[in-house]
């Protein structure tokens, strides 16, 4: 466990309770504080009272563009909060996106994408990379 990460707070937004639980387990095991919300609107409400160091957002919540809309909202609050978008899209539609190039990042308001299912090393690796920028 990394004790020194206890003052870093990560917001996890997903409409599936089990995805939230699992990410909370993984992130807390790595020593982060975790706050969860079940959708775009509860997350926006939460953001009125707290500012996370990083946000992990599911792309497909109740509305198809819920994840995009929330990323945009977070970036408007503070451009420097890194946003990690979780996608189940690739597996279901074969449609792939990435947020590597500047052009892609300009319309996908996210700093990185992570496809489901989420493995521990991948998640923690991405989180560390985003926090260190």
């Amino acid at each position: 466990m990394n004790e020194n990460q206890g003052d870093i707070t990560i917001l996890v937004v997903d409409d599936d309770i089990d995805v939230r639980e699992q990410m909370q387990f993984q992130l807390e095991a790595a020593g982060y504080n975790v706050v969860t919300a079940e959708g775009q609107i509860p997350a926006e409400k939460l953001l009125e009272t707290m500012k996370p160091d990083l946000a992990i957002v599911d792309l497909m919540m109740e509305h198809v563009d819920g994840g995009f809309a929330l990323s945009y909202h977070i970036k408007k609050i503070d451009q420097n909060i890194p946003v990690l978008l979780i996608t189940g899209v690739t597996a279901e539609t074969g449609f792939e996106f990435d947020a590597q190039t500047a052009e892609e990042q300009s319309w996908i308001k996210a700093d990185a994408l992570l496809p489901k299912p989420i493995r521990y090393e991948q998640l923690i690796g991405k989180v560390k990379k985003l926090l260190n920028r």
Binding site: D18, F25, G88, P117, R119
Partner: protein
């Protein structure tokens, strides 16, 4: 208004203009299928021209002279109709100079829909066109309905696949966490993960049972067994199977039925109806809530009401309630598992049994489902 494009192929100018005169500005109604049809006419003086025109724009109906210079009427038939997989929506009527049986047989073999023997009267021409139009429009309607059905089926299967994948993904995720020993030596964290896996498996199992119910209902009721049953007895059994679940959350279930209510119905179907109603009333209740069940028999109908004191629904959610896989998602329902098929099944069964379902609901006050059923199902019908 449907427009029927008719192409007349005849080498005699007199015949072409005669047909044109009869069919120009003709429109007719097909009352049995509630359609009005008008005709748009084009002409070709020989087979070569006709093939060109058909290639450019397929007409709906071909009035085809048997004797043509160059490509014959039969050859055109063979090429454009015989290949019927490619031209399911074009009909040909053969115009023959003499009504010989031989010509008729060989044209039919090549896919002609009908004949007109020269000379024919304007009435005969109109009647033939009308008959062909009716056939075409019915064919189109049937195809459109089949396509619609295919779409609905496809959508159902994609949503179903998603609903089956979600719990698998969740369980897979927990297994990975446990394999990685993410919680270290905190054993209660693993218990929690196992508990969630079990809950998602339960949900998946319920979905599969519901699917089987739905399939059974939709595949015709070959296995229906209409028999004499007592509503009260079945209701008591159903309540019994939910008492443990209800007791865990201190929910009281009360049946307000003083005497037996005889019904003639498929026992399994009534059980599904009752189980759906009662399990919903328990699931969507609040702790220490109530479930009240009443039943009235009058004028050959049985009216069942199941009221809960639960979380209720907004009016806009009530409207969506009976669709397949529509589950109301909000912070109050997020931990409640369901297949999203239960109410769709309930409605289908109620309608199958000569009744229907209605709902009244108020947020945080509760929901009342009212199901009406015919008290006695006709036994003969089920034996079919």
């Amino acid at each position: 208004m449907e427009i029927l494009n008719v192409l007349v192929v005849d080498d005699e100018p007199g015949m072409r203009s005669g047909i044109e005169r009869v069919l120009r500005n003709v429109s007719f109604t097909l009352p049995d299928i509630d359609k009005e049809v008008s005709i748009s006419l084009t002409q070709a003086e020989d087979g070569e021209k006709a093939m060109e025109m058909i290639a450019a724009q397929r007409p709906d109906l071909l009035l085809l002279d048997h004797h043509l210079p160059g490509i014959s009427g039969m050859e055109i038939l063979e090429q454009v109709i015989g290949d019927s997989a490619q031209s399911p929506e074009m009909l040909a009527v053969m115009i023959t100079a003499y009504a010989s049986l031989e010509t008729a047989v060989s044209a039919t073999k090549r896919g002609a829909y009908d004949f007109l023997a020269k000379p024919f009267t304007p009435q005969e021409l109109k009647a033939t066109v009308r008959k062909a139009a009716r056939h075409l429009i019915l064919q189109r309607e049937a195809r459109r309905l089949a396509e619609e059905k295919r779409q609905v089926r496809f959508q159902f299967i994609s949503v179903l696949a998603h609903e089956l994948k979600a719990p698998l993904g969740a369980i897979d995720g927990y297994l990975n966490l446990m394999q990685d020993r993410v919680a270290g030596d905190q054993l209660d964290a693993y218990d929690k993960m196992i508990g969630r896996c079990a809950a998602r498996l339960d949900g998946m199992q319920k979905l599969i049972y519901d699917l089987l119910d739905l399939t059974r209902i939709e595949s015709g009721q070959k296995n229906r067994q209409i028999e004499a049953v007592d509503f009260r007895e079945l209701a008591e059994q159903s309540i019994e199977s939910y008492t443990t679940l209800a007791a865990q959350r201190d929910i009281a279930i009360e049946l307000y039925v003083d005497s037996p209510v005889p019904m003639t119905i498929d026992r399994g179907e009534l059980e599904i109806i009752l189980n759906n109603l009662i399990s919903n009333a328990v699931k969507y209740n609040c702790d220490s809530g109530r479930v009240d069940i009443t039943c009235d028999a009058a004028d050959g109908a049985v009216t069942i009401t199941v009221s809960d004191t639960g979380i209720g629904m907004a009016p806009e959610d009530v409207e969506k309630l009976f669709g397949e896989f529509t589950r109301i998602k909000n912070s109050k329902t997020q931990n409640i598992l369901g297949s999203g098929l239960g109410l769709s099944i309930l409605k289908k069964l109620a309608q199958l049994n000569g009744g229907d379902v209605s709902v009244t609901s108020e947020i945080d006050q509760g929901t009342t489902f009212t199901v009406t059923l015919a008290q006695h199902q006709p036994i003969d019908e089920a034996a079919e």
